[in-house]
Structures are given as C-alpha cells and as structure tokens.
Amino acid sequence: MTDNDVIIKIEHLSKSYGDKVVLNDINLDIKRGEFVTLLGPSGCGKTTTLRLIAGFNKADSGTIMMDGKDITDVPPYCRPLNTVFQRYALFPHLDVYDNVAFGLKLNKMPENEIRMKVKRVLKMVSMTDYEDRDVNSLSGGQQQRVAIARALVNQPKVLLLDEPLAALDLKMRKDMQIELKEMHQKLGITFIYVTHDQEEALTLSDRIVVMDEGKIQQIGTPTDIYNEPVNSFVADFIGESNILNGVMIEDRKVAFMYHEFECVDEGFGSNVPVDVVIRPEDIYIMSRTDNAQMTGVVKSCTFKGVHYEMFVETETGYELMIQDYNAYEIGSTVGLIIKPQDIQVMKKEHVCNAYEGVMKGSDHVEFLGSEFECLPCGFTDGDKVRVEVDFRKVDLMDDKEDGTTTGTVVSILYKGNHYYIKVKTECGEDIFAHTQDVWDKFDMVGIKILPQDIRIKPLAKDE
C-alpha cells in the first residue's frame, strides 16, 4: 500500500480522561474508499477514536494525518469529513430541507444550487417527499436517513458513522445495513463506522479494527478476524467459539482436552502454553464413535432456525458448543472430529499473574496495593521482588470481608471446563483467576491467596 492510498493515518494516538486511559497508543492506516469498522465492547475507545478523527476532542499525544496533512489540531469545522451521530442530532428547530441544507448555506452556495443538491441527496436516501416536514415528526429510521443526507450533501472525503443504527429496531437495522453498503459502493468515499455489534461489522466492513481497553487487538478483513482471531478476546467477541487451554507440543501438533491434535500452526516453539479456538460449526459430530478422535455425551440441543446448537460433554470432562444441521438426542453418545485447519492456535497473553512486590518483614509481601502473608523465602524487609500467582490459586469470594483485597469482575471467558475471569482490583491492576464458580460481570469479589501459593522470586535484571 503506497502512501497515496492512505486517506487517514493515525500514529501513536493516546487519550485519557483524568487517570482513566481511554486510548493507548493507537496506530491505524485507513485506505481511500474503504469501509472500516471500529468494533469493540462499550468503553473500548472506539467512539473516542472517531471523535478524535472528527475533531470534537483533543488527543493527549499522537497525530492524525489526512491526505498527507497533519489535522491533529485542525478544528472540526475545517476538516473535510462529516459525521452521522448515534442519536441523529438533527436540528429540531429546522425542517428536513433546512437541516440538509445547513452545511451548504454556511458555504454561501447559490440558492438554486443548494436546492438541486438537497433534492438529489434526499432522493438517494428515499426521503424525497419529506422536505417540509418537521424533523420531530419523523420516525427513528427516517431521522437517520435525514442525518445521513445532511452529512453526505457536503460531499465529504470521509464519512464517520457513530453507531448510526443502534437506536433502530432489528428489521429496520438490517434494511439500513444493506442501504449503507450500497451507498458506500455507489459513492466510493471512505466510511469509518463505529459499532459494538459484531454481526453488523462482519456484514458491512472491508476491514474490521477490533478494540478493547483502549488498544487495537486485531485489524483484518471480516474473514480473517473470524477465522484467525489473534487472541482469546477477539475469538470470544466475534461470533460463537470454544476457547480452550492447550499446549503447543511442536510445530503442527497441539494438545488440548487431554488429546493430541494435528494443526496447521507453526512457530510457537515446543511445549508452549497456548489458547485454542474452535468454531462451533467446525466440529464434526456423528453417531458412530469408532473413527472419532473423541467421544462425548449430548447435554442439550436447541433448534436455531438453520442449525441445531448442542452442548456436548467429552469423556475428558470438557463442554463443547457444536452447531450442526442434524439434531442428536440428549443423552446419546457421539463421536467428534476436529480437522487440522479448523484449529486456531493463539499465543497466550498471560501464563500466570506476575507483579512487582515489596517484602514486609520476612513473611509478608505487598502487591496489588495490599499485604499478603507468604512463606519465608530468604528475602528481608524492604526487598523488591517478583511475585507470581497461578490462575488456579486465586480464590474469589462472595464476601468482600474475607479477602485480602477486593475487586470487580471485568471479563469472563468459558474455557470448556472452567471460567477464566479477569478482576480489576481496587488499586487498578488486573488479576486473573481460574474458577468453577459462576460470576457475573461487575460482581464485587474478595480476593484471597494462600501463603504457600505465592511464589517469590528475585526481580529480573531488566526490571
């Protein structure tokens, strides 16, 4: 891709509100004429990115280039791009015509030219007969059409769309998705689209930028993102998936669910812990068990329209979600096969919890903003140490009083036979836990770690 193809270039963009980091060093190139979607859960920084591109907020650091020019400090009214807002943001005191003509009138365009342009753009969004209508009398879908027309009439080089369909009902949303896609193809301008709806992103986009916690997790085409997620967050967020712990034995060989599988991934090294993703439609299920790689028992079976969704418990105690066109009876034993190309192996972001801590006496250590009891280990008071705690050894408790410190559950990932839970502690650092217990997002928990489960090591040289 040459620089001429890039219409917007974002480099090292960061933004914080108070001490909350919303965007953390974002780098992104957007190609001319592309339909790019910023996708992620609420609070991931996608809307902030869009608002920085539009110029409504100022970045703390980093640059935004458009057509080779630095626009980081250019005010929004001088940027050649227009925005469609989530709640439409039509001007309530103006009728449909004047709303659409607003930008043209500011440019002192001759009246007859304005009239022609407004008529043309209203025709494009199928709102021809609504010129004189009060915008408040329109339905949500109609208001959104007017908002799109108002942005497009100025012929922007880039159209920014901030969850434009979020307030519409499902049927309307589907129709508008198709219309937006057609509009994009017809106009040939760049669309930057923000949504939290993964299906919408997969349907509309040329490229998807998956974001979480102010960072870009993955950039790729919808097929790339779906078939080859780079980490467990992306795999879990996009579509349904089975995410399991595994060990990469060697190139093209991975073990999970106490079974060795052939796969197509290379370059992870040998005996390296990894995350494994298998899409529910990629597991072959059959009633014969003799040729199968594994066997399991069907626990539930739900009809989903096109396919059946089944939960199968394997002989090794893992629960798998499987989608198939055929239904298998609950309680029946089935054979399962997973083909090498359907196994997606991902590097693990964390292998265990690791922190920098300070010894308090010989048998206490301070980390996560609290003092934990530990076994004496040869370090003395005030020594800086590296503290490691296995995921399995972190105990989460209902009663906050019972824990050494407390935190809030921020994400939950089911891994076939246990939950992988991320807890944001009071001090702002994260701790990960493996547990059989069911927690909900935003639950407040007490965190307890037994003294023998805290491993204390000398700090590595570079720390």
Partner: protein
C-alpha cells in the same frame, strides 16, 4: 357536602383577599376623587391626565416611568445575555464544581433585597463609582442574572448534546454554531428568563433605593415611596398601577400558554 363547600369557599376567599387591593385600585382609577376610596362618579380623567402629561407635580412621574422602563429593558437584556453564557458554562462543568457554582447562583435569589442593596451600595462607594443611572442598572443586572441562569439551564439539559457538535461538523464556526443552533434551542428559556428579569427589575425598590445615589434619580417604586411620604398618593398612580397590572397579566398569560403548547407538543412526540 358541607366539607366540599368549605373547601371551595376557602380557596375563593383566599383569592379574593389576594386580589381585593388590586381590584380596589383598578375600580378607583375610574373616578376623579382626590382621596383614595371616595367615589365621585365614573370618569376616565385620570387616564387622560396620565397620557396627556397633565399630572399634578410636573413631569416627575412620567420621568420615573421612563427611567423604570429603560432600566428594566437594559437590565433584562444584558442579564439574559450574560445569564445564558453562564448557564452554558455551568452546564459544561462536572461534579462538585458544578454543584458549587449552582449553589452560589441560588444564594442571591434567597438573599434579602435589603442586604443585596446595602452591599452593592458599599461596593460602589468603595470603588468610587458615581451612583446614578449606571449603578442602578448594574445592580439590577446583578440580581437578575441568577433568574436567567435558572430558566436557561433546563433547556440545556433537554438539548441533544450532539447538535452543537453536528453544527461544527457541518462547517459552522463555534460562533455560528452558537447563533444558528444553540440560541434557537435555548430561546424559550431565554425569553422566560428575560420576562422574569424584566418584572424583577420593574418592581425592585430596596436595591434601587440604595444604589441610586443623590442625583435625584427616581424610578416608579422610589417615586411612589417619596410621594406617599409627602402625604397621599398622586391620583394618577391609580390608572398607572392598573395598566402595569394588566400588562404583567398579559405577559404571564403569554408565557403560560407558550409553555402549555410546548408541553403538548412534547407529549405528542
């Protein structure tokens, strides 16, 4: 049955007592009697006198009316402008700072007028500010602003926060976005703020009395005060008060009808 009758009678007696003095003045404005309360037959002489400038005691009453209206208009206009800006500023604040400023905004409204008047009087003396027209107008602007802020703030909360940004996005400078988008949205709040400020200024006595200085500036309220101390009210004040009451009544009716219409329109949405 009896209970219902008393309940109804109670409210009517209350209303009658409230409005009796006003009705009394209005009735007495249609007679020529010098002494208030005497009825010497129906006449519109006092109204004619008032408008033909033939009031006993020269032009001072007309001058006072003129002063009152000018001061009220200037004070209401300026405080509407400043109050709207202040409301926008407060609206964009967050947390404790916002609450603190809102609290500070409400103090002048509950503060007794006498105290406001005396403290402004002392302030003007301290600053060696010549007291007269300017000081009275400034004083009126001061106590009117909080009322404007209070009537504009709810309009800002109702407003879609994105419409200002939408205007910028479509190429409007912040100034254009303010006049073309914000002002039309805030206009109902600004109008009711203006009317409120106008009436507050119109009937103010205490603050005016302390800040008008010694140049002999008279507004209606200070004129009536001085007039009453000289022994008996000038008869032409009766038609004047009646007219003011009717004007205020009409203004109130207009704002109420506007609000009812707006509420009905909101309900239809």
């Amino acid at each position: 049955m009896m209970k219902k009758f008393f309940a109804k009678a109670y409210i009517y007696i209350l209303l009658l007592l409230l409005y009796a003095p006003l009705i009394f003045i209005a009735v007495c404005s249609f007679t020529e009697a010098k002494v208030l309360g005497n009825w010497t037959g129906f006449s519109t002489r006092l109204y004619a006198n008032l408008f033909s400038n033939a009031v006993e005691g020269g032009n001072s009453l007309i001058a006072a009316i003129y002063n009152t209206l000018i001061i009220a208009l200037v004070a209401a206009s300026v405080s509407t402008l400043f109050g709207t800006f202040a409301a926008i500023g407060i609206h964009n604040m967050h947390g404790a700072r916002k609450r603190a400023v809102q609290f500070m905004n409400s103090i002048p409204m509950v503060n007794p007028d006498v105290i406001t008047g005396v403290s402004l009087f002392l302030l003007f003396i301290f600053l060696h500010f010549t007291q007269g027209y300017a000081s009275v107008t400034l004083a009126h602007i001061t106590f009117c602003i909080p009322y404007v802020v209070l009537s504009v703030l709810p309009k800002l909360t109702q407003m879609n926060p994105n419409i200002y940004e939408a205007a910028l996005d479509l190429g409007a400078t912040p100034r254009q976005a303010f006049w073309k988008v914000m002002v039309p949205e805030l206009r109902p709040g600004m109008i009711s703020g203006f009317i409120l400020a106008f009436t507050m200024s119109l009937d103010d006595f205490a603050v005016t009395f302390f800040t008008r200085g010694t140049i002999g500036l008279e507004t209606l309220s200070t004129y009536i005060y001085t007039d009453a101390r000289k022994g008996g009210l000038t008869p032409e004040l009766r038609p004047l008060m009646t007219i003011i009451f009717v004007i205020i009544l009409i203004l109130l009716l207009i704002t109420n009808i506007r609000q009812m219409r707006a509420a009905r329109r909101a309900a239809v949405r």
